[in-house]
């Protein structure tokens, strides 16, 4: 480690400056607003609120708890499946075979088209009149006219699949990059020692991927928790608030009812939940000791 005292600070200075103005300050503002009555449509009632917003949220707002619950369910299902499928995929395209480059490019391609575009594609695919299910029904598979996004029974799997489509490649890319860093000698040595394929995976691959897995699941979990664009455009949180996540609820409060104070309180609550879970996760995985 170096003795030069000022070098690291000089190196991180531009990042710190950007983050201070465009991240730290806005966050501070949100916390400040959460303690205010701040509704753009009822300016006469605005002013210091103390913990009113939080009291309302925790005690008298079933939609807060429902949306928080759905957010948690969404994150657990999405991140779990994305990690599992991403790992399998990374292991597959890490092998040597003809057409591997092309297979990689194709497999990873949905990751490139996220956000509004993903939604557009899945709107086309799910639309009841000319979508994929209508097509399948015309071949005698399933029933015609099914609206998977409008039916409470199918809306969850339908949105999960759409998000998996663009989320799995993210894991696959990160894990593949890390897989490539494993020295070949380790596998050769393990093979010489008579390790089976499964043992090589468990004793060489997994320990090496540990940090990448911990970090990517954490980041992805946070992203999935805060993800707005897909659900907002695909279902709008419906049917009957079934797919309303906490950030969607926040967006509705802020954009539709201009209740910035209450919206800020919801945001603060989400932030606290994420922070708590993340610290717990880092502790449990012993990542913070490194």
């Amino acid at each position: 480690m170096s003795r030069a005292r000022w070098t690291p600070y000089l190196l991180i200075a531009p990042t710190v400056l950007l983050m201070a103005v465009f991240l730290a300050y806005p966050i501070g503002s949100v916390v400040y607003y959460s303690l205010q009555h701040y509704n753009a449509t009822r300016s006469w009632a605005n002013g210091f609120a103390g913990l009113d917003n939080f009291r309302q949220m925790l005690l008298h707002d079933p939609l807060f708890w429902q949306s928080l619950g759905f957010s948690v369910r969404w994150v657990v299902v999405e991140v779990g499946l994305q990690l599992l499928l991403g790992l399998v995929l990374a292991l597959i395209v890490n092998e040597t075979f003809i057409g591997r480059g092309l297979a990689r490019a194709l497999v990873f391609s949905p990751w490139a088209v996220s956000g509004v575009l993903t939604t557009g594609i899945w709107i086309l695919l799910y639309n009841p009149s000319t979508g994929i299910f209508q097509q399948l029904a015309s071949w005698g598979i399933g029933s015609p006219g099914a609206s998977v996004l409008g039916d409470p029974a199918t809306v969850f799997p339908a949105t999960v699949v759409a998000e998996l489509w663009r989320g799995v490649p993210f894991f696959a890319i990160l894990l593949l990059a890390d897989l490539q860093g494993i020295p070949r000698e380790l596998y050769e040595a393990a093979e010489v020692d008579g390790a089976t394929r499964w043992q090589r995976f468990r004793l060489v691959t997994l320990p090496h991927l540990r940090d990448a897995i911990v970090l990517s699941t954490l980041l992805r979990g946070v992203w999935e928790f805060n993800n707005v664009d897909l659900l907002y455009t695909l279902t709008g949180g419906g049917p009957a608030d079934q797919t309303t996540t906490l950030p969607l609820y926040v967006a509705r409060k802020a954009v539709d009812s201009h209740d910035f104070g209450y919206g800020s309180a919801l945001t603060t609550a989400g932030f606290v939940v994420l922070l708590f879970v993340s610290v717990l996760y880092l502790r449990l995985s012993k990542f913070d000791r490194r």
Binding site: A4, T7, Y9, L11, I12, P14, T15, V16, L18, M19, V21, F22, L23, Y25, P26, I27, S29, V30, Y33, I92, V93, E95, F97, A103, A105, L106, F108, S109, P110, A112, V113, G115, V116, L117, I121, I123, L124, L125, T130, I132, W165, A177, Q180, G181, P183, D211, L215, L219, V222, N226, V228, P247, V250, A251, A254, S264, T267, G270, F271, S278
Partner: protein, 270 residues
């Protein structure tokens, strides 16, 4: 026997996954190229009407140019800052390092949707509203934390011995960095740079909020603004989607080959 194992282990799951991955793309292409009203699965004869509508009538040519400028600008800013900061994190023990790392991680918890209001006021005060530069700065600020975390990982994977050897040979830290470390970081730079480019290309919220003028719209905003029409005109939605998707997918395909090369070449032998 060996080949049978590979078939079950590699090619069957890969093939199944490829089908699931590609069907949505294909569906979009079908809608984009077939005439309105047709339900053919293979669009023939192909029509370019939807693209004409989208490119000229709906102004996607301008949105395309704006998206390109913003995404390239973000790529440059993020790459330079991430290498600087990532190197600092990986190679120096300095006061406040943990706090900085924690700040980077915490920044990932911020829902972009809610900091929009304070951010909007910051942009107004700094006269960055309705400017492509403003979008570059905002995108960079949000992309940087992750880029820095990733980049510090890539730097840590470059053996310190290499640098120390160069410094023993009389190089200064900067020269040792430029001559020894930077070339090793090439795959990392490709990864971080492509993350930044694609992240910025697809960023919807900031572009929507910070550009109120149509000549400053990026592609996602253009797509969403005509969403009302898309409810009836699936052809235009699909064509707009293709216009927005083709560049990133193409860039990604190229980058992806380089990424693989770089990663395999990056395996260091002393």
């Amino acid at each position: 026997m060996h080949d049978k194992g590979r078939l079950a282990r590699l090619f069957l799951p890969l093939g199944a996954y490829l089908v699931v991955t590609l069907v949505p793309f294909y569906w979009m292409l079908v809608f984009a190229f077939r005439p309105t009203g047709s339900t053919a699965l293979v669009p023939w004869p192909i029509t370019l009407d939807h693209f004409r509508t989208v490119w000229t009538d709906l102004g996607f040519a301008v949105f395309f140019r704006n998206s390109l400028i913003v995404a390239l600008g973000t790529l440059v800013v993020v790459s330079v800052f991430a290498v600087m900061g990532g190197y600092a994190l990986a190679r120096f023990a300095f006061r406040g390092r943990r706090a900085f790392l924690l700040a980077l991680l915490c920044s990932q918890f911020v829902p972009g949707a809610m900091v929009l209001i304070p951010l909007f006021l910051v942009f107004k005060a700094t006269h960055l509203l309705n400017s492509l530069q403003g979008l570059v700065i905002a995108d960079s600020a949000f992309q940087l934390p992750l880029a820095l975390i990733l980049m510090s990982g890539f730097v840590r994977n470059v053996p310190v011995d290499l640098e120390e050897a160069a410094m023993v040979d009389g190089c200064g830290r900067l020269r040792a960095f430029l001559a020894v470390v930077l070339p090793q970081l090439r795959p990392g730079l490709v990864a971080v740079g492509s993350f930044a480019f694609i992240g910025s290309w697809n960023n919807f919220l900031f572009a929507l909020m910070f550009s109120g003028r149509q000549d400053r719209f990026t592609l996602p905003v253009g797509l969403s603004y005509t969403l009302g029409e898309f409810n009836v005109d699936f052809g235009a939605l699909a064509a707009g989607g293709v216009v927005a998707a083709v560049p990133v997918v193409a860039v990604f395909a190229v980058i992806q080959r380089f990424l693989v090369q770089g990663l395999t070449a990056g395996a260091v032998k002393g």
